[in-house]
């Protein structure tokens, strides 16, 4: 093998590695997989000087939806499944916070689709733009197709997992959610978690 061949093979290797890195995409969850991790949420509201902040843990399942467990400032368990947003009461009961037609229901469904990377469903109502990527991260910007939509703009970025979500609601109302310490689990959801989803009818 001469030097020219070595150089060519080296370049090819670099090219292959580079291509592989550029193709880093959001993992696609199978039905028997789920992601767990931590989140921190910062909610800026007009007329309120201080932003509202919370953090806690989450579990995301393609089959069932999103479990959102706030630990600070209050302990709360929320279940987002399909178009339904529910909370676990102190009595252990599941209380619905949405009806099928209201905006929270639509928002709940959108959040689930965003975290699952269900771009084809999102594209039916949003203009989706790749707003830049580097070797191990991707960025997307979503703008609604129709007037009077829920949001002005959504920015989402991540690598294998969604890492940051910024939602601009207009009138200086804005949410920013960061996800960290995420890991992929093979196998079904733990029984107690699945029971919660089942209680919401999902």
């Amino acid at each position: 093998m001469n030097r020219r061949t070595l150089l060519a093979n080296g370049l090819l290797l670099i090219l292959l590695v580079g291509t592989a890195a550029a193709e880093t995409t959001l993992i696609s969850l199978e039905d028997d997989q789920y992601i767990s991790g931590e989140f921190s949420l910062e909610r800026r509201l007009n007329h309120f000087e201080a932003p509202l902040r919370s953090h806690g843990r989450f579990i995301l399942s393609a089959e069932h939806g999103l479990l959102w467990q706030t630990e600070v400032p209050v302990k709360q368990t929320l279940i987002l499944s399909g178009r339904s947003l529910s909370r676990l009461t102190a009595d252990g009961e599941v209380e619905a916070l949405t009806s099928d037609s209201d905006r929270v229901g639509q928002y709940t469904q959108l959040i689930n689709k965003l975290l699952n990377g269900d771009w084809s469903a999102i594209e039916s109502r949003f203009h989706l733009e790749d707003s830049g990527s580097d070797t191990d991260r991707w960025h997307k910007t979503l703008t609604p197709d129709e007037q009077g939509a829920l949001f002005q703009r959504i920015e989402i970025s991540g690598g294998r997992f969604v890492e940051r979500l910024s939602i601009h609601k207009g009138s200086q109302n804005r949410d920013r959610i960061e996800f960290s310490d995420q890991s992929l689990h093979d196998g079904p959801l733990p029984e107690d978690i699945r029971t919660l989803f089942t209680a919401t009818g999902s």
């Binding site: 201080a50 509202l52 929320l78 619905a96 916070l97 037609s101 829920l150 609601k169 009818g201």
Partner: protein
Amino acid sequence: MKYRALVWIALLIAASLWSAWQLNAGAIAIDADYLAFVDSGENAASGLQATHRLLTEDNRRALFVVGHDNHDTARQQARDFIASLKALPQTAAINSPVADSDDRGERLLKHYAAHGGGLLSRADRRKLENGQARPIYERALAEIYAPAAMTTGAGLRADPFRLLPAFLRQLQERSAGFDRAIKHNGRSHVPISVRLDEVTTAQRHDWAAAVTAAIDRVHDADAATQILHTGPLFFARAEENRARQEVRRIALLSTAGIVLLALAVFLSWLPVAGLLITIGGGLLAGLTAAVTLMDTIHVIALVFGSSLIGISVDYAFHYFAVHDRLGDGYGNRRLRRILPGLTLGLLTSLIGFAALAVTPAALLTQIAVFSAFGLAGAYLTVVCLLPLLPERGPAPWLHDNPGLMQLVHRHRRLFQRNSARYALLAVWFIGLIALPWWLQPDDDVRVLGYSEAQLVSNSETIQAITGQGGRADFLLIEAADTQTALQLEETIRERLTPLIERGQLGGLIAIADFIPSLQRQRDNRQLVAEKLHAPYADELAAAIGNPVTPPDTDELLRPDRQTLALWPQLDTLLVAQQPGTHLVRLQGMDDADAVDAALADLAGAQRINPVAVVNNALAGYRVWAYVALLLLLAGAAVLLVSRYGRRHGLLTLLAPASGVLLALLATPLLGVTHNFFTTMALFLVFAIGADYAIFLRESHADAFIEQTYLAVLLSLASSLLTFGLLASSRIPLVHDLGLVIVVGLTAAWLCATLSLAAHPDDKEHNPS
């Protein structure tokens, strides 16, 4: 004679031009709605007005359910279907979870947010009353910190404990289930409720046809999608289509039958033309009277009226059958021979129509006007035009036909036998005593029509999926003013909620659910201030890191036009021009007694069953029809006694009266329902039956008795043909009418020779 004919022809031409012009200008509306039976005028009781209003509204509504195994596909198919509904000009409003939900949700929130603090869901109010404010506080935190929170700064400041979203969720749950997609048997179903503009019956039917075609297109394109539809307008259209098909079939067959009969008897087209001219003259006169004297005519009045002026066929048969072989140009002499009988027959019928016209029921007046003028028109056509026609008598095979003469003789002698007289006497004696027990009136409007099996199945499935449909009772609220009515509705809600929880009642829709009374809103504000803000404001402020202040608005929600416009279904619950008179819709009522018991001591609330209201109206019509029938009998008795003397007058009357009695006694055995409509059929039995007896009586002494008998036979045959075909109908109402008339006329014909009974000439007419 010619001068008379020219005047009548000129009048008929003028009448046809006038009627065409009036019909073209829309001077008269044809009403096909059974609601016409419910008196809704200014003087009608508020219950009747309310029923009329509610049923009128229901007739403008349709309900659809779009189903698919996949939730998103069901929603998308529903959106596409809604687009096709919106494209129809008659569509006024659409209510569905997938119809304009973004915009609607925003509008609701904005409007109600301006009146925050006084609006509490029933569950929240209960919790606060019971000192359980903590779950409400925790729910507020959950909503504020949810990843999918629509909270804005302005919204949170106005409603820090998030009471308004809970109130709006409750409204959406109560608003007839049309704000949620529904899972049923593993499939997703999207309900769509549609309200039409105030359009004519024909336009409603056009809309139903277009919608049915759109549904077929969806089913053809995607077999996995199922769109079910229901609503009174679909049933009405199916019923009208069925009725139209049957009427076309019956009209064609009976006209062909009568023409063949006339051809067989007269062997000439001339009498056929005479029959058609007479019927046409009668119809035109009836129609002209209707368009001139009325704004609206019900289709039932038209049908009855047209049947009654079918008597005009008898006049024409009578004219042509009484044949004197004098040849052409002796029409007037021929007419003079039958004119007394014809005139007496007309007068007897007019007495019946006059009796109908004096009843307070608009429908009966319409029937009376149309029929009286129609029959008079037919009579004048016979008198003025038929004598101009060349002479055409019965065919040679009927001249002095021994069979016919034998029949006349035997029939004539029927009531000379004691056995027949006693039998008839016994029928009358037993019949009059037994009649009140024997007749079991059933005025239920629901058993009259023909319901398409597919529509009934659709309706039941939709009821199972949405919990909507079924018995549509309502409560009539009568209070001194609007606010008192709203408070009464709030009390009703409290009392009926246990029934809803136990499944005895599907639900209810009241204006107070959407716009609580001012008193309730003030109470709510006080409750929130004392039980929620006072103990939890500081804790909430600490949790969100911002100050929490009580709502600073004093504005209360009122039932103004803006608020009512947000909920189209509320429009029907307000009774116009009567502040304080509201309606409350009861849904899926399984136990009416339980509802009555729960509201027993509540003044100002009355449960009304719309079907019962319509049925009661029909029962009232039936009673008025009895009265009119008795007046007809009395009037005819006076007329016949004055013409024939007491004995023969009453015997002549006895023939059609026996037809009526025997129809009343015999038809229940054939499964005929006794109601207003079958009672009205007895008028026809009496009017035609009276003609039989009068025609025979008038010619009892002359040489034309056999020919008159032939005319009566022809009349009977044509009536049996027409009404026998009606009896073959699959529409219960039409079937029953046909049977009553067939039985009654046969009996009236059998008894017709009573008018000849015990006459001194009887023995001379024995051909043997």
